[in-house]
């Protein structure tokens, strides 16, 4: 019994921790500790997931009682750690941001925790039913977080767009799974895989189902042309929520994308270049990278730029997903590693962005950044640092993430795709460097409103942790890379 | 035609007939009783005159007169109303109420071949076993008949499903009327009904856990074997009753049609028979909600100590008296008991109207969400905990509970006898001799030094 509880511990800790935090908010009326409390809860969950990793999923034999609903393999555990860490970092950022902007309401942390729980369920889902429950838990939380700044029409607009399109995408995906169920009679992913792999089954509804599921998943990871909601939702949401959506929600989306494409549709026919999903996903990847990078360069708003940047990163990740058909273990671990580097970099970037502005003097556009490097070097430096990581400059984590994904794609023989991805990361450098230009080489126009940095211990802690992870993944990627490889080997 | 359809027709006739007639009479009861409480005469003008003979029946002809009036009144429709929805709304108000009675049992299962038996020339009324099973006689081919139009597995859920449909009617009638009072009334009605529906559903969950079934017939059987629901789940009873009154939008929950604020709420613009249908549906809703409360909490067709084989007065193991009764008699008793209980509850509902003041709207919503809902959730929790404890308890606790259950049956029997006795006593007491019966307003007039005679005539 014990090992099975251990497998479930991360989810239990988050669920009960979130409830306890909600009660604490109601009963004690103390709001200051909530961010730290949430972070502690999520770090604890991550620690439990690490413990599960140490014990090894093969020794969590009793965890099979949760089958087929929840699968606790190394893939799940990797994502649990990643999701819990990103959630905790986002919560820390929220601690400073919400207080500064006067929207310090305890619901934020509860929603964030439950949404993280949903993402974990999504990563662990071994059945369509569970997958849907996890997806909705994660997404509804994200919708609420996006609309959390109730006083702001932009927040409402972004949340509404996100909600409507997200519901539509979920419905499409559900319809796809319903067709699959109709064709095979299975709802568990393993059963679906077996049924699809059997030669006897040749139903056209499977193709339609694949298309619908792919559309739904592409929405969740905001791949072009399903990305329309992303800039608005990211821009309108409170910045910590944006960080959460960019890191955790995207990670959850990729977890389920990998699981569904490589497990359910991982059979010979579906995963072959000629008859299956790879060309579609490759097309999505090309579109996503190219469109996002081109549009990102034209943005005035920093948050929108970061939103398009996150879309572009989804494109690189999709390259890795396509590569997984030829070199499964290597490509999958590259995607996981990339997700880890991307998550810490993007949360760090948003955290630094939070720190750059204060209430009434936020950083909205590039202009607001002008001269910040000279006026407040301590605040500008971390922002520059994470932007470099996102751009994929060598010593940072982002570089190795890209490197492994591109290498996996090359090894898989996807030369064209790799070249496009490479060109794109060069294009991306344009708008990342633009940040530097404004930070260090421009002065604000006379009389223009200038951003005033804020101070918050929580945000600084989050930035320090993100910087630590970025450097760790960049300078000593061994441990995490081994973990990602272990996932690939096991999966 | 299959047998069950054949059997269903008289059952439908009984239930719907009861519903229509009692609904109609209730309109009279409501008005007449209001008059009595307010010390006036009330409706008494409707009359059938044949020569010198006048048939008044204490105003009982008023419902009929109203019905005739509804039919011949101008059917007015506001010029900018949505014609289709405007006409659809009253129909939608009636249908759910009518459907709802389909699952309500008005008597125990009848064994047709055990009702009357003729052996040779002797006609006898046989008894049947207490277990309730019919001895099925393949020669006659008569199946046992449930005195229930249809016995659904989802029983109570069907009731809730139907009750929920009534909200749509209120909403679209108000919306389609193109009148802001109607719209406000509809808004109030639909938010009130949606809110109270939650409470309504959650309040009975505790009772459902104990009964272990959703079939209304089985609930009644459980209650006649153990104890009435009102004793097992008193909290649930009160919440359920309150929520039902709120669902039927009667005082003190009649905010949607608060005449001092909203003219007549969502059916302000209705006239003629369309208005009649709303009006009538409301009274029928009183009947159906009473039936529901009777079935779920007041023992349905059950009478204290009356079982399928006759009267057995027993407390726990101790048998006090036993009187075997024929199946026919027991069945008739049961059916009568159900309808009399229903009528009593209908009367109580009309009575409440003059006992409680109207809430304010925020109080109404606050009551639902902040009081009734948490209490019903707590009720579920407590019921579950007690249930678990009882499962682990030694057997004597079960015997004790059985004893207490029988005691409640005895209590009901004594209470009902007392109430009926005092009612009869009160009816035959002379009005003139008892000064308390002189109305309060008469007292007022007398104290003002005026003539005590008939201070207010209708």
């Amino acid at each position: 019994m014990m090992p099975s509880i251990l497998a479930l511990m991360p989810m239990l800790v988050i669920g009960f921790g979130a409830l306890a935090l909600m009660l604490a908010e109601v009963l004690t009326d103390a709001k200051t500790g909530l961010a730290v409390g949430t972070a502690v809860v999520l770090f604890t969950a991550a620690a439990f997931a690490c413990a599960g990793w140490m014990v090894g999923p093969e020794n969590l034999g009793d965890a099979a009682v949760f089958a087929p609903w929840l699968v606790f393999d190394r893939f799940t555990l990797f994502f649990e750690v990643l999701l819990a860490l990103s959630g905790a970092l986002a919560a820390l950022v929220a601690g400073g941001y919400l207080r500064e902007h006067g929207i310090d309401r305890g619901e934020f942390y509860a929603i964030l925790s439950f949404s993280t729980l949903g993402a974990m369920m999504l990563a662990a889902a071994g059945d369509v039913l569970m997958l849907f429950v996890g997806l909705e838990t994660m997404s509804i939380g994200a919708y609420a977080l996006a609309g959390f700044r109730r006083g702001s029409p932009k927040s409402a607009e972004g949340a509404l767009k996100y909600f409507l399109l997200g519901s539509f995408a979920a419905a499409l995906m559900m319809f796809g799974f319903a067709l699959l169920y109709g064709a095979t009679g299975h709802t568990d992913l393993a059963g679906l895989h077996n049924a699809l792999a059997s030669e006897s089954l040749r139903s056209p509804s499977i193709v339609i189902a694949l298309a619908l599921v792919l559309a739904g998943l592409a929405f969740k990871v905001s791949a072009v042309p399903f990305h329309m909601w992303t800039p608005d939702a990211y821009e309108g949401a409170p910045t910590p929520a944006t960080a959460f959506m960019a890191a955790s929600v995207k990670a959850g989306g990729f977890a389920v994308l990998l699981r569904v494409l490589l497990t359910v549709f991982g059979d010979e026919r579906s995963a072959s270049w000629a008859t299956g999903w790879p060309p579609v996903v490759a097309l999505l990847a090309v579109l996503t990278m190219t469109v996002a990078n081109l549009v990102a360069g034209r943005q005035e708003s920093i948050k929108r730029m970061l939103a398009y940047s996150s879309i572009a990163h989804a494109g690189y990740l999709l390259v890795g997903v396509v590569a997984a058909i030829r070199a499964p273990a290597q490509a999958q671990s590259a995607v996981l590693f990339y997700l880890a580097t991307y998550s810490v970099s993007t949360i760090g970037a948003f955290a630094a962005l939070v720190l750059c502005g204060s209430r009434g003097a936020e950083v909205v556009s590039y202009e607001d950044l002008a001269g910040l490097g000279r006026r407040h070097p301590a605040v500008a430096l971390p922002f520059a640092f994470f932007i470099l990581s996102l751009a994929g400059m060598p010593p940072m984590a982002g570089f190795f993430g890209k490197w492994f994904v591109f290498k996996a794609a090359m090894d898989a023989g996807l030369h064209g795709l790799t070249v496009i991805a490479f060109i794109n990361s060069v294009i991306a450098a344009y708008y990342y460097l633009k940040v530097f230009v404004f930070l260090y080489m421009r002065e604000p126009a006379a009389g223009a409103p200038i951003a005033k940095p804020m101070w918050s211990g929580e945000v600084v802690t989050a930035i320090a942790l993100c910087a630590f992870f970025v450097l760790l993944l960049g300078l000593a990627p061994g441990a995490v890379l081994d973990a990602a490889l272990a996932v690939g080997g096991a999966g | 035609m299959p047998n069950y359809i054949l059997y269903a027709i008289p059952k439908i006739l009984i239930m719907v007939g009861f519903l229509f007639n009692v609904g109609g009479i209730l309109t009279w009861v409501d008005r007449r009783q209001s008059a009595m409480i307010q010390d006036r005469v009330g409706p008494n003008r409707a009359v059938i005159k044949i020569g010198k003979f006048e048939l008044r029946l204490w105003g009982l002809l008023h419902p009929a007169a109203d019905g005739v009036k509804f039919f011949f009144k101008e059917d007015f429709m506001p010029p900018k109303a949505d014609k289709l929805l405007f006409s659809l709304a009253p129909i939608l108000a009636m249908i759910p109420v009518l459907c709802l009675v389909a699952v309500i049992p008005f008597g125990d299962t009848v064994c047709p071949d055990a009702l009357i038996q003729t052996v040779g020339n002797v006609t006898q009324l046989p008894n049947i076993a207490r277990s309730g099973l019919c001895t099925f006689d393949p020669r006659t081919g008569l199946q046992p008949i449930d005195l229930q139009i249809v016995s659904l597995d989802i029983g109570l859920l069907f009731v809730f499903a139907m009750a929920g449909q009534g909200i749509v009617s209120a909403a679209i009638s108000g919306w389609s009327s193109d009148n802001k009072f109607s719209l406000m009334g509809a808004l109030r009605a639909s938010s009130q009904m949606v809110s109270y529906e939650v409470t309504l559903g959650l309040s009975v969950v505790g009772a459902l856990m104990i009964y272990g079934t959703l079939r209304l017939g089985d609930m009644v059987r459980w209650q006649s074997e153990h104890a009435w629901g009102i004793f097992v789940q008193p909290v649930a009873f009160f919440i359920f009753f309150a929520a039902l009154v709120a669902e039927s939008k009667r005082i003190p929950f009649d905010l949607p049609e608060a005449e001092s604020e909203l003219v007549s709420g969502y059916f302000t613009e209705y006239s003629g028979m369309k208005f009649g249908m709303f009006y009538f549906a409301e009274y029928m809703e009183i009947v159906t909600s009473s039936m529901l409360v009777v079935t779920v909490f007041l023992g349905g067709w059950g009478l204290p100590f009356v079982h399928r084989d006759g009267i057995t007065i027993a407390f726990g193991e101790g048998m006090l008296a036993q009187l075997p009764l024929p199946h026919l008699v027991v069945t008739v008793f049961g059916v009568l008991a159900f309808f009399i209980k229903t009528l009593t509850l209908c009367w109580i509902q009309t009575f409440v109207r003059w006992s409680l003041p109207r809430f304010r709207y925020d109080q109404l919503m606050g009551l639902c969400w902040k009081v009734l809902l948490p209490v019903s959730l707590a009720n579920i929790f407590v019921t579950g905990v007690v249930w678990l404890l009882l499962d682990m308890a030694p057997p004597f606790v079960g015997n004790m509970l059985q004893l207490v259950g029988d005691a409640t049956q005895g209590f009901v029997a004594v209470l009902v006898t007392f109430l009926v006795g005092s009612a009869v006593f009160g009816l035959f007491r002379s009005r003139t001799k008892d000064p308390r019966i002189i109305g309060a307003s008469a007292e007022l007039v007398r104290s003002a030094g005026k003539s005590p005679q008939s201070p207010m005539q209708a």
Binding site: S115, T137, L201, S203 | D153, D178
Partner: protein
């Protein structure tokens, strides 16, 4: 045709009509009622599949709560005809609808022709669709998703509170319906 088939086609026709009405109706309340009609007809279809519980829940949840909430919101918005639906030209809309409809139709026809249900039981297990059996399944076999869906409900509840309660919203166009034109909303009325 058996009674069952007649019943099926009747329910299916009503459902289709309701769905069409929901899409085509000009008045939003009529559209909501079309939706209601479809929901009721689908509940009828569930009944024919021996899924009484599902039918009742469909009526309670969808017809009794969700559609009512739709109507409720529409009432709050007042008599607003649907204007400005779809920014695209009518041609684009027709093209889109036709394309999507054709794909859906093709999917249905192809699926129906290739329908080879693999592992569906030939006979229904005892107690299929009954409340007791569903409850048993829910608390044994599907306990994990059942319990975890409480997290889903929780986040939905908290999320609804989070986006609806708190600082005063910036009023864009609300309160214009119930208040006569020109009358400024009183302070505190915005909630």
């Amino acid at each position: 045709m058996t009674i069952g088939q007649v019943y099926f086609y009747l329910c299916a026709a009503v459902a289709l009509f309701g769905a069409l009405a929901a899409v085509c109706a000009k008045s939003p309340v009529r559209a909501a009622l079309g939706l209601l009609m479809m929901v009721l007809a689908v509940a009828g279809l569930y009944l024919s599949l021996d899924a009484q519980f599902l039918a009742a829940i469909q009526l309670i949840v969808y017809a009794g709560a969700i559609v009512v909430l739709f109507v409720f919101v529409l009432m709050l918005l007042g008599h607003t005809p649907l204007v400005g639906v779809g920014d695209g030209s009518p041609a684009a809309r027709i093209l889109g609808a036709t394309g999507f409809g054709a794909v859906a139709l093709a999917a249905m026809i192809l699926s129906a022709r290739n329908a080879e249900p693999t592992n569906f039981p030939a006979a229904l297990p005892a107690g299929f669709g009954s409340v007791g059996e569903i409850g048993r399944l829910m608390f044994t076999q599907t306990l994990v998703p059942f319990e975890l869906s409480s997290a889903l409900l929780m986040v939905a509840v908290v999320g609804a509170v989070a986006v609806s309660k708190g600082e005063k919203p910036v009023i864009v166009a609300a309160a214009s319906v119930l208040a006569p034109p020109g009358a400024a909303p009183k302070p505190g009325e915005s909630q």
